[in-house]
Symmetry: C2
Subunit: 236 residues, 2 copies
């Protein structure tokens, strides 16, 4: 019998916010202002595609920890080069463009669900996004966090076990009092290995209409729910 | 001309919450349950009196960083010994007693003031309290933080400069875009030395009716206000 959950910590990109639509929208606006015609969704997908390789160098120790804001900026530069668009943007314009990651729309049920859950337990992001990024994203979307946890607290990136462990330690809770919630099975595999409880919420259109991964739970996660508010019974 | 303030970071004990009344109330209840008659306010003052010396050992490098929760617990043990009350409490009872620091009442204007300010800037605690402590205290008192900053982020205690600097870095802001708000002049001296803007709010009864320190500003702080909501014009 697992103890009741004292804190729910959440993956953010995909699980809570629709990064693909939101980044494509920002890119569309940015390129339109420059008179550049481009497939903004393909641009968003390529930009996001640089995300995991950029973190991998840090996870393996080949680079010291830098916040995701820096990686997003570097990956934007690489993405613009890939689309033969290097040179169209000044450095301040690149930072402004990169701040699109601070303006991602929550899925429709998210704000109500978190607000409900917050009455019953601590809620916090456990994202690879920095404190700076998560704070601004929360203000943009109205995510009512109790505190901001995640990569910055640990100085490393998920799915490294120390990220999950650092979130529990920061809250002075044992891992089995904390539930990691994500729409990505890999995130939950790592969280479970670190001793946390796990909750899966499917987001079958995170990657668009043809998504082929993470359509359902791939293990016996403690919770499998369609809506965040349904998680409250694990806090009882 | 200083830039507009993008984030207000706050001292908490004294500046936002009435620790003395609240700790005395918890102590009164706890001792009453044990049938022990004691001057609960004197107990609160003595317990709080151990706070600075306990942190000093860490600031000077004579002890590695431990969260304030641990220091509060150790200081409670020392305080009970001082009052000849050692041995009346089990370890779980001591931890429960020590968690009184998570249940401190905000001064009357605080929740409304922070809620107002949050519409205009990032708001966060920059306290020597841990993330765990600040998170629970915010839930108890309804403090609507955007994120939790402070000692845990820096691995050191105020007034060490790295605590203020770590808060700015975590938000990806330069120190002059951040205002440290406190009712303690010493806190503001250190924040200014670290490059932050400074705001003073008098709390002339923090230490009770006979308070003799911090009755007013002792330097030309950028802001001197009676109410948190008055800080919003520095964010314009």
């Amino acid at each position: 019998m697992k103890p009741k959950v004292e804190a729910f910590i959440f993956d953010v990109f995909g699980t809570l916010v629709d990064w693909r639509y939101s980044i494509a929208r920002s890119a569309e606006e940015t390129f339109s202002n420059k008179g550049i015609d481009i497939d903004a969704t393909a641009f968003a997908d390529y930009w996001r595609g640089q995300y995991d390789p950029a973190m991998a160098r840090i996870r393996t120790g080949n680079r010291g920890y830098v916040a995701l804001d820096v990686l997003h900026y570097e990956n934007l530069v690489a993405t613009l080069a890939h689309f033969d668009l290097a040179g169209h943007f000044s450095e301040p314009e690149l930072w402004q463009f990169s701040s699109a990651w601070e303006r991602l729309d929550p899925w429709p049920e998210v704000v109500d669900g978190l607000t409900h859950l917050k009455q019953r337990a601590i809620i916090a992001p456990c994202s690879n996004g920095s404190i700076a990024l998560m704070t601004r994203l929360a203000k943009y979307g109205g995510l009512p966090w109790d505190c901001i946890l995640g990569a910055d607290i640990a100085g490393n990136y998920k799915p490294q076990p120390e990220v999950y462990q650092a979130c529990c330690s920061a809250l002075r809770l044992s891992p089995d009092q904390v539930m990691m919630v994500a729409c990505h099975n890999k995130d939950l595999i790592a969280a479970r290995a670190a001793g946390l409880q796990t909750g899966f919420i499917p987001r079958p259109t995170e990657h668009g209409p043809d998504q082929s991964i993470d359509l359902g739970p791939e293990a016996d996660w403690e919770a499998v729910v369609d809506r965040i508010s349904d998680l409250s019974r694990w806090a009882e």
